[in-house]
Symmetry: C2
Subunit: 355 residues, 2 copies
Amino acid sequence: MKIAQISPLYEAVPPSLYGGTERVVAHLTDALTQLGHEVTLFAAAGARTRAVLVACRDQPLRLDPNPLKSDLAAHLNMLHMLRERQDEFDILHFHTDLIHFPLFESVAARTVTTLHGRLDLKDLGETYRRWRQFALVSISQHQRHPLPFANWLATVPHGLDIAAPTRIEAPADGGYLAFLGRISPEKRPDRAIAIARKAGLPLKIAAKVDAADRHYYETEIRPLLRQPGIEFIGEIGDADKTAFLAGARALLFPIDWPEPFGLVMIEAMARGTPVIAWRCGSVPEVIDHGITGWVVDSEDDAVRAIEQAASADRVRIRDVFERRFSARSMAQRYESLYRRLLAPTEQTEPLLQVG
Amino acid sequence: MKIAQISPLYEAVPPSLYGGTERVVAHLTDALTQLGHEVTLFAAAGARTRAVLVACRDQPLRLDPNPLKSDLAAHLNMLHMLRERQDEFDILHFHTDLIHFPLFESVAARTVTTLHGRLDLKDLGETYRRWRQFALVSISQHQRHPLPFANWLATVPHGLDIAAPTRIEAPADGGYLAFLGRISPEKRPDRAIAIARKAGLPLKIAAKVDAADRHYYETEIRPLLRQPGIEFIGEIGDADKTAFLAGARALLFPIDWPEPFGLVMIEAMARGTPVIAWRCGSVPEVIDHGITGWVVDSEDDAVRAIEQAASADRVRIRDVFERRFSARSMAQRYESLYRRLLAPTEQTEPLLQVG
């Protein structure tokens, strides 16, 4: 198939450090190429991809030091470029929320839109009702809750192409606890620290601090870092993640918001590391409780899970990752969706009602 | 004519305190109604207008305490509502920058888009090239500089409907200097303070402090407020502006950015108060130098202008305001543009090239 993948223009594809959507777009695009499709990636210049790249901006918006720029105009420009070439593609796969709706109404039947964010925002419901001709993909079933009426085509969990560590085994020294991602109130690094202190294990925090979260970091988190065993190592890139995660007894994911997917959970699983996560958003769907991790409701639950994590079957965790969350499995799921869209008469159910 | 005015959804129409675009939309809409047109206003609920209001959101975005909302979705919803009714109107007049372009391509010939913001943002040029079928109105000639190639239809200076003070006369006590608007680095309240100190006159600062400018206010401006004669009175509404401006010897507008219009200058003129403004952006177009104010390049220039301001002809300033910057004169200019668009064959020049 001839497939256009349309990325947001915010981060590099893939991001060098933190960033979810553009990472998934990068891995999906490469995996579709490896499945034999002709894939064209619409993204900011500099994307690392096996697909044909159409560079739609000289650099990603968040990496551009020029403060005088327009996110909206940049995305409209990309979509206008794509529209001029839309007939070259069998499928247009958008990762741009809803901004593309007005431009692609005439070809909506051969588009797929994957929603990457939380959907409990006030104005979204009306937009997804008004442009109901666009088939949507959720990244977890839970993500759909605020918009049950939307035109859901399927749920496709995220996948990543991550090489297995050379040896998958429990850390010889018993390991530390890991917190990976971003310092922000909804990620609850404070709770991770409390759990580690209760469990009596060291905690390593590898996390970005955005400008918007600087005040929270300084006032709420930084004072907690003085406690024994708590180490803040800053933001890390993919090259460092395997050592960081493989050396951990478990990843702590004690979130307090409706997480639509939670990429870091599968980044841990890819290294055979179990995940201890709060029952929020997508968590119960992503974790096979008792196998790839534990879904918990309290700090005491989490401490008990940390004891069990010492004897987790880490090879099996990696196996589950490959089956459920590899980039290849994600690409195969999308491939079958594209085929359903292009040959709707083969479906017994009307496409709009396929859940 | 049947005219749709399409406001942004950020502030109330008109704003109760600070806010430019929605204020101009409110005054234009009412003035067009008074000229006998059937005007429909697309805006957030609660707009105060003589036109027929189509409430497109339950409240303006910036007044909505819900943090979980989407500016983009809200505007797309409004534009979708409008598109369903677009055939009811002769003219669609947009104040929404460029977000409406993808939805109204088929009726672009009967649209007018007034650009209210600065245009030196990196991604804008390409957007205005790609959607060149939309005729644009600038609010000053200077505003056009970054986009000389765009499809400019005309420049229409902003106008406001402001009642004259009961008596227009110089303040008996010699008056103070006034600074009105927003505390931010580009508005240069620090420079206003320095000028007032040099001139030996009191300065009253009536200004909003946005969250984004709080740090600037605390570190750069607040320490300066301790100096003698400098008074910070916070944000004021329309009801207080006449007393505040009429009591001033002059308004200081010592800006340091490419101001596209500068509504506060005409708010001062409406009260007969002269304006002392830096040579930036629209300033030389808005001020009749030596009549309604002085265009200056230095603090010493400004101090000299303050001396001259004591003997300004304040009745004449009000007269110039009425002729150049009343809402009625703005509405008449737009009315003639609408007529040009609807009867293009009467034009000798192709419309796209009319400057």
